[in-house]
Symmetry: D2
Subunit: 394 residues, 4 copies
């Protein structure tokens, strides 16, 4: 393939070359003073991104699925009950992780395409008079549907019910892409992975945990070793880890945190919002429908597009890959074949997005969907021009 | 700047990451056996690209302007006459290089935007009864105007005049982008630089030279040391150079030659032709005019677009850079302010080109040019779809 | 720091630049066809290194400590008994991992510095008439002491006792460094991490598992989700993973497997053996003692050197880092302060080792240990010359 | 080859990975504002290294040999006389460059191994009553012999003779390695290449030129185009070049200048001096002789070692490459076969140097030279310990 390839699955996204170069640095002793400095830097940077002062940061080599396990086994005991909000494939899997470790998951089923309704959580918790529900599990951005739930509202709902349940949030496809306030929203665990808004290759699990979560940790009975928080927290005091850390990724993380800080977190969110809106306008101009139902819940990380009736999105995605070498995200689980997902997260700019949208237009057209070529692009261009800020070229 | 930046000047183009990684290899002894093997590999690969069996390859750290000097001082003597075909900024400079070294340049002035007319060369050479003209200087692709002259026809013209003049061709913006046949067209010198079709960072001068050019070299009296061919040819026999070569670039060249060979030279040319035609159709749909006058001479390396009357292309290019971070080529020399140039050479694909065209549309619109947003893109998409080949994704 | 830094802890070792460059490749869709090809390649290559035809390969983002957990929770049930051979810090931690998951670990205590005595295993298993012991846990190379136990003999011991226990082996500091025969020695799990003989940055857990281990897996009751083998094996059939894999590391692994295959596994082992012996001879010539007791068990991956009486090895290691920027491995757990460890694994050559030994000499001398400067180096040089093979410089 | 290879020729030396990574950055428009900023940064940094406030910096893609040509053709006219100091292969070639361009070179022949005698220059210039000698050509560090001449003394000699000749100095193997004061020593041209003390891959010619040299430039009649200073100086005002510059190398140069500035130029010189002295002590302890005759002129960039009588240094160097993969510098020109050269310049540290010296010991021993293994190393270690400064590990 000539030229630079595109990777428009909703994460991992392409790693910026600054980060690639940082990852290429020679390894250092993970028990030495240079490493301790690196860890300090990365921890401080992550706290800024999580918007937490009080929370503790935990890093593991692993993945987002590992972060689920680390969250569950450190805060809960087998047999305990949790309220699991299921509105997509990844919230489904988050709940299954809990089940695998003996947790009794009461499922709050939500239609795919909708966000988690805070009021239903409040109602359920109010009914939980004897405080059997130990935690609420929720995914902020459902990567399978392109829906971002309102975490602030969920926090208010729990408070309104005056319920002590922990709020355990998957922020994998949110952190570094949209607003997230660990302290303000009193999250107890916010778990994530680095290949989304943090712009790294996959290979880590990251968690921010509250004092209340740490208290729960002391009495949590789930068997654990690798994912155990206590040895990590203890070792981190001395600037190292109880296991061999993924040093190269930490080099990269240090650089991507620097980039986010240079751009400014608010600007990063605005950029995501602007590119996402351009994408949605293009989709609308192509006469296609978004899978997400509620504009207030549209994700700025990815856009899930409903496949026109009678067409299989898996086949469309294969076609797109062959036609223009553009990988898109498939429909997962219950929505297999029904939608395709366009990632517009991490390190991305207007011209790249427009190239992607052109690829989507071409692929749709040649897949037999009746769309006017160029219409989606014109809509995106128009919006981008309306919202353009001239930048200084330096 | 978030995302990957674009560089749509007509060379240097962006270096493919395979080549970037090759350049990153640790340096080796430029007088050792590993280097000799590298040089052999690179020389063989270049001969394939130049389509020469008999020609000799000469490599210098330098630039295309250095290649001009190397060509002139090695084949000519002060006071000798040459016929210099001037149809753009770079052919102008090529001729000035000859003048600087005491050569008497008779200029064949051609309107900027037109190619070199073979018939005029034939006429002039026929009139040169006492064979005063020692060489014809011609630029295959005028990077300043987007015009590719017909070198095969020029060779035929010289033959028709039965004239012994050397044919000295600048193929900087042609080699690796469009057809070029050193042996078949009996070129005497074909000089180039690596930052165009060879997909490297700038920093070299490359020449293929014929047996006849080497003969001329023996009697050429221009003063020379660095650019002298003889010490290079002598050292190359032993696998090294009389100066410290740009080893890192040679690592890269070895890789880019591998890439060109993997894709197949004909496929590389077709890709350039297809992307170039898509670009031209987009420009036409934007109701803008090409600067090149003759469709048979449209360059597949770059497209020069005439700036609408009353607008300054320098200002437009600055605007484009600020608006969408897209560097385009300015009008050079006589055409300063009158055109902008879009490079579509080297490692480039459809989605990148479409992103670039979207950027051009947005920039034009916001610069005040009345264009229908999306029209250019639709034209390009339509053409690309008509000419698409589904590829195997592996 | 000027020049290239050294990293002589016993892993991670420095990553060869070929691997660094491979890791730098742009990410690809981990659910696409290119990824499936990569996975196939890596799996086949690992089977060659593990010397297994029948075994299944499992890859996780994680670490060696994660591989312990994956091994334990997939093959055992809470309450089951295992025989844990403890002859160093890492075998200690391997056993603690089992304990953390409710396994009843019967410890076979072995003096630190000695290998695992096969005959004691045989005796214990013979006494285990009702087959309560479900598995034997053993670390092939104890990274904390520089001792490599005889896995072949342990296999024979289990067979001699005619006992059905699984043989679960940590081969972290062995794979790619010394002989290891998964099929021939009938290992049931061989678990490792990539930052040793596989020459990668840390960030993965790798396991080879036997058919018998897979059978045990079906009935194993330990809670598991992330580390569960079944979803991985199921997904791998289609060329992907149930979690987001560490794609960048897999790029690197593909390259390092290529390097091992190019050098030839036997040559890789011989190189490790030769450099290790040179290191030991240098240490002997410095009048220092190895921590490993039995020459037949000397590790070729690292050498643990007993700190002379009255001196603290932690202080010595700090001194060495400050003096010559050379990180060495500290004494861990019970042997803290009593030894220092020199890694000579992965990508390393003679001149690098000699530089390291010179650094050790200088650091010892200036730390107050009475050694004749140059004596250790002379011993190493002598041995290396005796065993030198002239290589072709290409 | 396993491990990191060594490259102990006296330049190019191995490029530090920070610089390698800087070179890997995506290309930018060489006529755009980002480039102008880069050029400004690089120019300012180089002025600091040259220690000039008044001098102008000129950069060309090319090599040191190109810098010779640029120096000659810009300051002199055919037929003019210069005094060429010849004390080694490179000063010989510098003079030949002048001859090639029609300059009348009066050679001051100095024994190879000795520095340029300032008093002889003074005498010759005093005799030049009618000021026929337009320039003195001198090489500060003769890379072929390991001799550094006293430029300050030469300046004084010219002043003492009250002679207006230009002082044209090749500082290729000096800049960034040892003291060099462009303004204080009133150099007129100091020319260099980046692959020595500037720690870059080869591919550039760099010059600092005085006001007086610029004045000479105005009347110099040598034919020139590529190497002409005027168009470069004119373009540089606007932040660009008249040719396509070697942008990737400029990225690298910006980083290496940052590294030199971080370390501090005096510290860089001290490091070179210390490693060079360690090398010389090792050579002495091996009972070998330096080729340089005068301790005050020993180069800190490289050490030329006289091959023991009866042995051919070319064969020894081939042997060394095959035995330990260590490239050393051969004897060039008149001293072919008579010496080998060890580079200890650029980015290098103690352990690397000691590894190199161990390689030299092993190669000598196995080549049949009677040396006590370890003796050279012990001498180097002793000296390094005596002069060690404990560094903070961060």
């Amino acid at each position: 393939m000539s030229g630079r390839s595109f990777l428009q699955i909703p994460g991992p996204s392409l790693v910026p070359e600054r980060v690639v170069r940082a990852i290429s640095q020679p390894l250092i002793d993970h028990r030495g003073p240079q490493f301790a400095a690196l860890l300090g830097e990365v921890t401080r940077g992550l706290k800024d991104i999580f918007r937490t002062v009080e929370g503790r940061i935990l890093l593991f080599p692993g993945s987002g699925t590992g972060a689920w396990e680390s969250c569950i086994v450190n805060t809960l005991s087998p047999g305990e009950k949790v309220l699991g909000c299921v509105n997509g494939h990844f919230s489904e899997l988050f709940c299954r992780t809990a089940t695998a470790h003996g947790i009794d998951v009461e499922r709050l089923e939500i239609e795919y395409g909708a966000g988690v309704p805070a009021e239903q959580i409040e109602q359920r918790l109010r009914r939980d008079r004897d405080r059997q529900i130990k935690a609420v599990l929720v995914v902020q951005t459902e990567t399978s549907t392109g829906v971002t739930s309102n975490l602030a509202a969920i926090r208010k709902a729990i408070d309104a019910a005056n319920h002590p349940a922990l709020l355990l949030a998957d922020v994998v496809s949110s952190l570094g892409c949209n607003d997230l306030r660990f302290d303000e929203w009193k999250l107890d665990v916010a778990l994530t992975a680095p290949q989304k808004g943090l712009m790294l290759p996959p290979g880590m699990a990251l968690l921010a945990v509250s004092e209340k979560a740490l208290e729960a940790n002391r009495s949590a009975k789930c068997a654990r070793s690798f994912w155990d928080w206590q040895p990590v927290l203890a070792s981190n005091v001395g600037g190292h880890f109880p296991y061999t850390p993924a040093t190269a990724l930490l080099f990269g993380l240090s650089e991507s945190l620097k980039m986010l800080s240079e751009e400014g977190l608010e600007n990063v969110f605005q950029r995501h919002a602007r590119l996402a809106e351009a994408c949605r306008r293009a989709i609308a101009a192509m006469n296609l429908k978004l899978f997400a139902q509620n504009p207030a819940e549209y994700s700025n990380t990815l856009t899930a597009v409903a496949m026109p009736d009678g067409l299989d999105s898996d086949a469309f995605i294969d076609h797109t890959l062959k036609l223009v070498d553009l990988p898109l995200g498939k429909g997962l689980g219950k929505v297999k074949g029904k939608l395709f997902r366009i990632g517009h997260l991490g390190s991305l700019n207007e011209l790249e997005l427009l190239g992607v949208l052109a690829g989507v237009e071409m692929a749709l057209k040649s897949f037999g969907v009746k769309i006017p070529l160029g219409a989606g692009l014109a809509a995106a261009e128009t919006y981008l021009l309306e919202t353009a800020k001239k930048r200084s070229p330096l």
